[in-house]
Amino acid sequence: MTSLVALNPAAHRLHYVLPDVAVNHSARQQLIPVVPGEFSFVATQLPLVLTKHEHTGEFGIAALCGFAPGENVLVGGDTATPSWQGLYVPLQLQRQPFFLGHDEQGGASICIDPQNPAVGVLGAGGVVSGIASGVVSGVAHGQNAALPAGAERLFLDDGSATGYLAQAAELMKEIVAGEAQRRDLIALLLQLKLVQPLALDVTFANGQSVRLQGLYSVDAQALAQLPEADVLTLHRSGFLPAVYAMVQSMSQVYHLIHLKNQLLGQAG
């Protein structure tokens, strides 16, 4: 279980993050939630599907990355050093290892999981601790003598946020706004009856087959037959491009199958 800690300059002045490790560590998910603003980027490689939240039954929209829970065919490397190989990094991965925490007064703050392998602390006297595997560099010279290559500090010595942390904060805001947009898009899709259950029966090159359940997609036929008033509503909502991105992205299932076939071939 992750335990999140709210960031503050006093406690975290010596903390740093390795962004690449953060992305790769969190990448191995079968379904990665995405927001409408990034649909056109994601749709070039991955199918966009609707799924229901495990605890509430509410619909969400995600990029489908694999054929079983925990499987992601866009993650290469090995178990110890996974690496995301997609062209675009979804916001959900980009924002790692940061989370938005809410306190009892309803205020929001940026939090971090100190146990995340991408998070490290500069030790006193330049001894580096908490480094994720494979990223140790030798002692370097200069002010950040102990900072590993590619690492980003969270706070400057004077306690102010680094450019990196400020960027991360902006990203969180973008995601929050994007999630609200996603809810509106889903509500509209349901209202216009444009959602259909998706039954995916897939057979791979080695004869193995799998049936994906619990997924939904945009009903392209219903979309084509929308009455005029609904077409106008959809256009005015600004979501028409997002809806078409979802429709077009379904052909990326073949891309996923291809990647899986490659993996199965190598396992051979």
């Binding site: 229901k52 495990e54 605890h55 509430t56 039954g57 619909f59 959602v195 939904y216």
Partner: protein, 566 residues
Amino acid sequence: MSDTSNVTAKVTANLKDNALGKTRVVIVGGGNAGWLTAGRIAAKHRCMDPNSKVEVVLIESPGIPPIGVGEGTWPTMRSTLLALGISETEFIRQCDVTFKQGAKFARWVDGGADDFYYHPLVLPQGFGKTDLAAHWQLAKQQSAAESSHHTSNQHISPPWQLGSFANDVCYQQAVCEHGKAPKTIRHAEFAALANYAYHLDSGKFGVYLQQHVTQKLGVTHILDDVIGVLPKAPEASVCGFGDATEQTTKQDIAAVQTKQHGLVHGDLFVDCTGFASLLLGQHYQVPFISCSDVLFIDRALAVQVPYDSPDAPIATHTISTAQSAGWIWDIGLQHRRGIGYVYSSKYSSDDEARAVLRQYVGPKLDELTVRSIPIRSGHRHHFWQQNCVAVGLSAGFLEPLEASALVLVELSAQMIAEQLPQDRAVMDIIAKRFNETFAYRWQRIIDFLKLHYILTKRPEPFWRDNCDEATIPQSLKDLMLLWQYRTPSDLDFTSNNEVFPAASYQYVLYGMGFCSDKMPLATSAQWDMALSALEQNRKLTAQALAALPSHRDLLNKINEFGLSTL
């Protein structure tokens, strides 16, 4: 509640004449029977549409309360709600609804604390392809023979770890015993992982139906008392109940006389007046055929019992526990339980019965209101006379051992809606078919209920007398003889009008320890198929237990988030 003044004006304008040429159905009586029937007919014939050829009017007495019990349903209720355009989420929220996955019969065989069997709603594994019951029976007989004769059969050893029948062949018993819901928050409305029905609050259901049926389905609601009947004959006059003559029993009803709204004319009248059976029983004097010689229960003590805490577990099945002179039903709703002792006054005094109920409920019974309801077990000789058909308690009543009351209402409402005579010329034919259909159904229900009683080993007089051959219908006796030679199968139940599937009989028969001891042995190929069905059931059981949430958790989530229609 509808706005009476507006309704009165609209209704009195229309009630005299059928100027629009629509077929008018007048339902007398509210309650679940009245509103379900009104809803079924109005939905089928699109009465919201002004161009509909059918009009439905329901007259409900403001003074007569509905019976207020009757809380178990069948899976058919899901289709009924769908047909009426009712949202499952709203139904669950408004009517204190919980999920019912079958019935647990406790203490029916020898009365011991561990004596119970399940009648679940899911079919035995491979039903229709493999006769798992037959192999289970053979394996059971063989292992009994083995332990006494030290022989062995290669088909029977280890894979057949025999426990209770329902648990071996079906995963739903385990789901119930673990208090799991039959689906998850991600399932759409009315979709199931495990087949299910509902437990509901009868009073709240009636109120909810009334509101939905009048507002969304175009049914006219009149709040008034029906005090007489105007027969359809030249120069006829209104007769009060009890004044009917032999002549009037052969005449159609032209209209019913109400206290404040005058005459309400109609083409078809549906009697949903409950035990009173005003139209069919009192006006048409259709005799009541008692079946108390077969089913002895004639009294009920009913009580509503609160939970000990707001997160107490809720049973996902009806619990029916045998007692000395009858049995106790225990139904868990979201906010309270409905518990009742049905018994035979011939074998127990009212004081003794109350003591039995108190033993079950506990001392808190002393603070609760207990209702005593007389039960007249049986049904009318026929159900459709002239242009009047009875639905619900007005047609008959049997003890709620298999929750048959509401399903009979649903089946009646469906048949009337689907075969609604648009013309008097065809009505007699439809009436005859309705009567045949439901005479058959009542008989099958009586047989099936009796089956629960005749395999007991309990010593009390109520139970001993239940096993007396003279009290067992011949149709049931015939089946019991057949079932020594084979398991209950669809071959035994070939009418279109069957109520219970063959699997239900299997669950009761083998749950109570019946032995089909004259069955032929199976081939090894059949054994293999049966074994793999058994194995498949074990897998499904593990999967179901892992995937399903607890019953109360799911209900909480449905109340908070609702179920999607998709």
